[in-house]
Amino acid sequence: MGKDDVKLLSMWASPFCMRVKVALAEKDVAYEEILESDLMGAKTELLIKSNPVHKQVPVLLHDDKPVVESTNILTYIDEVWPAKPLLPACAYGKSRARFWADYIDRKVFPAGRNVWTAKEDDQVESARKEFLDILMYLDGTLGEQDYFNGDTFGFVDILLIGLTSWFPAFEKYGGFKVEDEYPKLAAWITRSYARETVSESLTSPEKITNFVGMMRQMYGIE
């Protein structure tokens, strides 16, 4: 079987790109990373051609065929490279994973954005409350398990762990600590970061927090 040609169009701060990097690492799939510039630069022709509808990263190019939207990319990766499955085997288990994937995608990052873009005290307060309420459901579904996928690190874990590189920024500007509010969730973050596939794929939270600080200045929030 010929060697797969796998490329990832990504941007260093994007938690959605970090997810894909973790998934590829978990599957031992070699790939070439092509970095799009950050907010200031123009989008490359390759990105526009590969994702004409949204013009956004991440984009996975597998033998030049594009796959877009990070959750969709993770499902694709799991189907094409089925060894070490990320999703449960049974239909119901898969549906639970997809449910939480949808929840995480719709709620966590937008709520986090509301936290770091909030200007007045009362806005910060309500954004913090909203974010913590969202985490409450995740903490609840994790329960006493080591991972959202049960005993093994899997699909939902990967989708959420990329976003956690932004959590220290949300904590800083929201005035809270996840480990005080949800110690089990915080323990899951630490446990997941102990995996090389995660620690090598995620951008350091310090770098992200500096980036968020810079954006706050740019948007006139501080």
Binding site: H62, N72, T75, Y76, Y137
Partner: protein, 221 residues
């Protein structure tokens, strides 16, 4: 053969619920339908969908599955021995199908509400422009195919066709013709309506229009 318990909890006008009805009927799955009053939600709904408290919910042998696209994939997998298969077998084609279904999910319903719920010509026109942009993108993806799924209804067809019941409402509020703007897409919709599963699952467009008019009276109080 063990009798399976299959229950669909939904609301008659929900396009998301219609998707599930189509999928169940396409696979020939017998189910019990339970109508939920969305204006007076039952405590039952909060037990089967505690996170979102929304319809549709599929209950299969006492386990609930929520979110319509999730439900369609579940039906495809749990009854994989029954044709048709909604998602193609090739992983890249599957990713394409999921992309378009997700695109429709995230954009169309919200954009359409601007046409019929907003007051003010500018907002209505913005809604109209957005809906047409979405429909034209989707129409170009259909191309020359009979259905998004090829020769038969697939994942994207099932995701989109319930919104056809709302075309009359959008056109009436927005004063435009979707058939004029997207003739291939409307031809596709009429093709879908010839399928029993679709015809049986979609509410009457006039009933939808009357319902939305009466909802507006409630929202604009």
């Amino acid at each position: 053969m063990v009798k399976e318990e299959v229950v669909l909890v939904s609301f008659w006008s929900s396009p998301f619920g219609s998707r599930v009805k189509i999928a169940l009927e396409e696979k020939g799955i017998h189910y019990e339908y339970k109508e939920e009053d969305l204006f007076n939600k039952s405590s039952y709904l909060s037990t089967i969908n505690p996170v979102h408290n929304k319809v549709p919910v599929l209950i299969h042998n006492h386990r609930s599955i929520c979110e319509s696209l999730n439900i369609i994939e579940y039906i495809d997998e749990a009854w994989s021995d029954r044709s048709p298969q909604f998602l193609p077998s090739d992983p890249h084609q599957r990713s394409q199908a999921r992309f378009w279904a997700d695109f429709i999910d995230k954009q169309l319903y919200e954009a359409s509400k601007k046409i019929y719920r907003e007051k003010g010509e500018e907002q209505v026109n913005n809604g109209k422009k957005e809906v047409l942009r979405i429909l034209k993108l989707v129409e170009s993806e259909l191309g020359e195919k009979a259905f998004f799924g090829g020769d038969n209804l697939g994942f994207v067809d099932i995701s989109l066709i319930p919104f056809y019941s709302r075309f009359y409402t959008w056109e009436t509020f927005g004063k435009f013709s979707i058939e004029e703007e997207c003739p291939n897409l409307v031809a596709w919709a009429k093709r879908c309506m010839q399928k029993q599963s679709v015809a049986n699952s979609l509410p009457d467009p006039l009933k939808i229009y009357d319902f939305i008019v009466s909802l507006n009276k409630y929202y604009h109080k």
